[in-house]
């Protein structure tokens, strides 16, 4: 970036900012307004169910990542460790518990309301279960509902699995939600929300697909985590989310038509040198610095697996207003970390080919076994199948002790050097042919 400038605030960004501000205001007034609050997770979330019952969702993972971005997570993690949590375990859990120990102050500086319901839909991560067992003890007496989402161990979603999930929803989860909300589920309203969800999902997929263009108008990882926010959290199923994605698609398409590169925190990238596919979550404590290493080198992430933790819409899944509970069940089972390893490798291979990537990079997260265990084998498989250079770096989500800037920068620079050399060779070969 030769000419750094203030981040451009596009209209979609403003819309998202307002949506979030309104949510946090609603949350801070929740108790006064008699609104019930549900703590739940992002992957396999049941947002439409929560919103259809006029309750407000809080996502502990989002709190944790925001604490990471606000440089608060290091202290929170240490406080949880003082309580007996080992250094070795998932730092999202510790950050959330530490935040709670410190008064549960949310990203806007206001206290988050305590939960009326803990809704554990544990999709793709066993640690979620442990996390909520701990929360249940920290909020004694709070209603807790759990939706066990079977893993796609054989690479398919079976009828038995769907039946199991639908039964849990019908006979356990929804009745508990109704009890807390003090009203019956309005299925017409739910269907309408699922219809909205599907509309937003269509638009989101179109946004993601713009990255097939050269140059890509978006960064599907670093900017992707912002873009995916409304769909993955409290807004899926709302009209606002549809409006947000309409606006986002409009902006992104305009950029694509003008052959522009992605917008970064320091303005617009001038040249796309490398197209990458990335596996694994980003680091949040040094998010800007981390991103900068990439855009300074002209590297754009054209597809990422992390932006699919909230659903694999680009592979065809849509919420279905005519089959509400079945489609919610399919949704939960279809999230990225609920795929088995061969499916994950197939998906990455597909992205590399579809998005014509020059390289594949893994950001391996210390905290997250769900993502990380098996990544080295995945890397080898991808290398063999696609024949492109693969890179591997390590960091953590929210524990600043595990982000070594110098180390990561060195590794990435060597990796980009390798990609650069390969590019030159490929161009020569092409010219000779």
């Amino acid at each position: 970036m030769s000419n750094p400038k203030e981040a451009i605030k596009e209209k979609s960004m403003v819309i998202q900012k307002d949506m979030l501000a309104n949510l946090f205001t609603e949350l801070s007034n929740a108790k006064a307004n008699g609104k019930k609050v549900v703590y739940t997770f992002v992957p396999g979330n049941l947002t439409e169910l929560i919103l259809a019952m006029d309750m407000l969702p809080v996502y502990p993972e989002i709190n944790a990542l925001q604490s990471g971005m606000r440089k608060k997570s290091g202290g929170y993690i240490k406080d949880a460790e003082k309580l007996g949590f080992s250094e070795d375990v998932c730092t999202y859990v510790k950050c959330d518990i530490g935040m709670m120990l410190n008064g549960n102050i949310g990203p806007t500086g206001e206290k988050l309301p305590e939960p009326d319901l803990l809704l554990l839909s544990y999709t793709g991560c066993f640690t979620f279960l442990k996390w909520f067992e701990n929360l249940e003890k920290l909020y004694p007496g709070v209603e807790i509902a759990m939706l066990h989402t079977p893993y796609q161990e054989d690479g398919v979603i079976t009828d038995d699995q769907i039946k199991y999930m639908v039964k849990q929803l019908q006979e356990d989860v929804i009745p508990k939600m109704e009890k807390v909300a003090g009203k019956k589920m309005d299925y017409d309203r739910l269907s309408k929300m699922l219809d909205n969800a599907a509309k937003a999902e269509d638009l989101w997929v179109k946004v993601l697909e713009t990255a097939k263009h050269r140059p890509s108008p978006i960064d599907s990882y670093f900017a992707g985590v912002y873009y995916m926010g409304p769909l993955n959290t409290a807004f899926r199923g709302t009209e606002e989310a549809v409006t947000y994605y309409e606006e986002l698609l409009k902006e992104v398409t305009e950029r694509m038509d003008q052959n522009l590169c992605p917008v970064t925190p320091e303005g617009e990238m001038k040249e796309e040198k490398f197209r990458l596919v990335v596996e694994g979550p980003p680091n949040w404590t040094n998010f800007r610095e981390f991103w900068k290493i990439f855009y300074d080198m002209g590297a754009v992430i054209v597809a990422s697996t992390y932006t699919k933790v909230g659903g694999l819409y680009d592979q065809g899944f849509r919420h279905d207003k005519d089959k509400p509970l079945e489609s919610l069940s399919r949704y939960c089972m279809g999230c990225y970390t609920n795929l088995n390893l061969p499916q994950r490798v197939d998906l990455i291979e597909h992205y590399i080919k579809e998005f014509k990537a020059d390289g594949f990079l893994i950001n391996s997260i210390k905290s997250c076994n769900s993502f990380s265990a098996g990544q080295l084998l995945m890397m080898r498989e991808v290398e063999q199948r696609c024949g492109i250079p693969v890179g591997f770096i390590e960091s953590d989500l929210v524990d600043p002790r595990y982000f070594s800037y110098a180390n990561i920068k060195n590794r990435l620079e060597s990796y980009f050097q390798m990609l650069g050399q390969r590019k030159v060779i490929l161009e020569q070969v092409e010219a000779e042919a």
């Binding site: 759990m146 893993y151 161990e153 038995d160 390893l341 076994n369 265990a373 390590e394």
Partner: protein, 392 residues
């Protein structure tokens, strides 16, 4: 008289020890070689209902890691430094010849490492079938029970495809009976040790139970019968040791040297969760019903012991650990979890709190299965033992 008992016991214990740590699974492979209809099914910690494998003419072989008995070379290249050790050893065995001739592998749901390892086996094309065994976390019979029943049927179908053996009601009831006997004999050993911990060391018990994971249940039952008889005789001298329960080592196993160090430091281990799968179901499973699959499902839903693998809301593990300490008349708990073991380490603060509230003393170690240095652990366990003796 006393001498004779000790000799027989010594030789049985030696046999258990060599079986327990035969990472080539020689016994199991020889067993399988006797008939082309026999199957070997490897399973990871913690629990699988071995009864269905037995009834399908199979031998369920517990894969508990390699401890410090096998050098990890390839396995380390498959795992980042911050992932526990157990899966490294398992993948090392799978890539070497240790698991040759195994027909299938089951990966019970305990954590995402084991879950993803099931996918690594698929990618590496190991075994004719590989199943992640996703236990229901819903314990309503018509919801979680139905799902579990279907899960068992999937594994039965996998095995049927390989050996054409149809499991009859009689077969399954017979298998259930044998495993009822097995669990009951193991329980008797723990009960005898509770009163007379000096008759067998914790390491001996460890070898006895682990041997049962690599041989057929009929043979293990014979050995257990004999051992129970032998240790029912009075021998040995009590020492001035405290009595502890070990919690948190249910998957990656602590090195034998570490178990030894704890006992040598003055702590009789009167209960543990080392080989939890063999003791998972508490009490007998109905072995006389017309629907033994249903009996297995019921047992899982209602007779499972406390475990980090099971959602504990409504039946908290902390209270169950406290009860276990009381039942075993133990003086304290040693929390002993593998490094980087999320399930054990995330449960630990709650379990410690329950112990604190119940006035139960506890200490805490972390280990790797291939740790070689036990000096610090011995010192800490010694101090723990001394501090308890001072107050009891």
């Amino acid at each position: 008289m006393m001498k004779q008992v000790s000799d027989r016991l010594t030789s049985l214990l030696e046999e258990c020890k060599s079986l327990a740590f035969d990472l080539n699974f020689t016994y199991a492979k020889q067993w399988k070689a006797k008939s082309k209809y026999r199957l070997l099914v490897g399973y990871l910690p913690i629990y699988v209902p071995r009864e269905i494998i037995h009834a399908a003419n199979g031998l369920a072989v517990g894969l508990m890691g390699v401890g410090d008995r096998k050098q990890i070379i390839k396995g380390d290249a498959y795992y980042q430094s911050y992932i526990c050790h157990l899966p490294r050893g398992i993948i090392e065995m799978a890539l070497d010849s240790n698991l040759d001739n195994f027909d299938g592998f089951l990966f019970p749901s305990i954590c995402d490492c084991v879950r993803n390892l099931s996918g690594m086996f698929k990618l590496a094309k190991r075994g004719k079938f590989t199943r992640y065994f996703d236990y229901p976390q819903n314990f309503e019979k018509h919801i979680g029970g139905t799902f579990y029943h279907e899960l068992l049927q999937t594994v039965i179908d996998d095995m049927f495809k390989l050996n054409d053996m149809k499991i009859t009601t009689q077969h399954l009831n017979d298998s259930i009976k044998l495993y009822n006997i097995n669990r009951s004999l193991i329980e008797q050993i723990y009960n005898i040790r509770q009163d007379f911990p000096w008759r067998l060391s914790a390491v001996d018990v460890y070898h006895i139970i682990r041997a049962g994971m690599v041989i057929n249940v009929e043979k293990h039952n014979e050995m257990l019968h004999e051992i129970v008889d032998l240790i029912s005789e009075d021998f040995g001298e009590p020492m001035d040791n405290i009595r502890v329960v070990i919690s948190g080592s249910f998957c990656e196993q602590p090195p034998i040297g570490m178990i030894k160090s704890i006992e040598m430091a003055g702590c009789y281990i009167v209960d543990d969760d080392f080989m939890l799968g063999s003791r998972w179901i508490h009490g007998d499973i109905d072995a006389t019903s017309h629907d033994p699959m249903n009996a297995l499902v019921d047992a899982f839903l209602t007779q499972s012991g406390p475990s980090s693998a099971i959602y504990d809301v409504g039946n908290p593990k902390g209270a169950r650990l406290v009860q276990q300490v009381r039942d075993r008349n133990a003086d304290g708990v040693i929390f002993c979890a593998a490094s980087f073991c999320d399930p054990a380490l995330l449960d630990r603060p709650t379990l410690q709190k329950s112990c604190d509230e119940a006035g139960i003393a506890h200490i805490n170690f972390q280990f790797h299965e291939n740790t070689g240095q036990f000096k610090v652990i011995k010192e800490q366990a010694g101090t723990f033992s001394d501090s308890i003796k001072l107050w009891v």
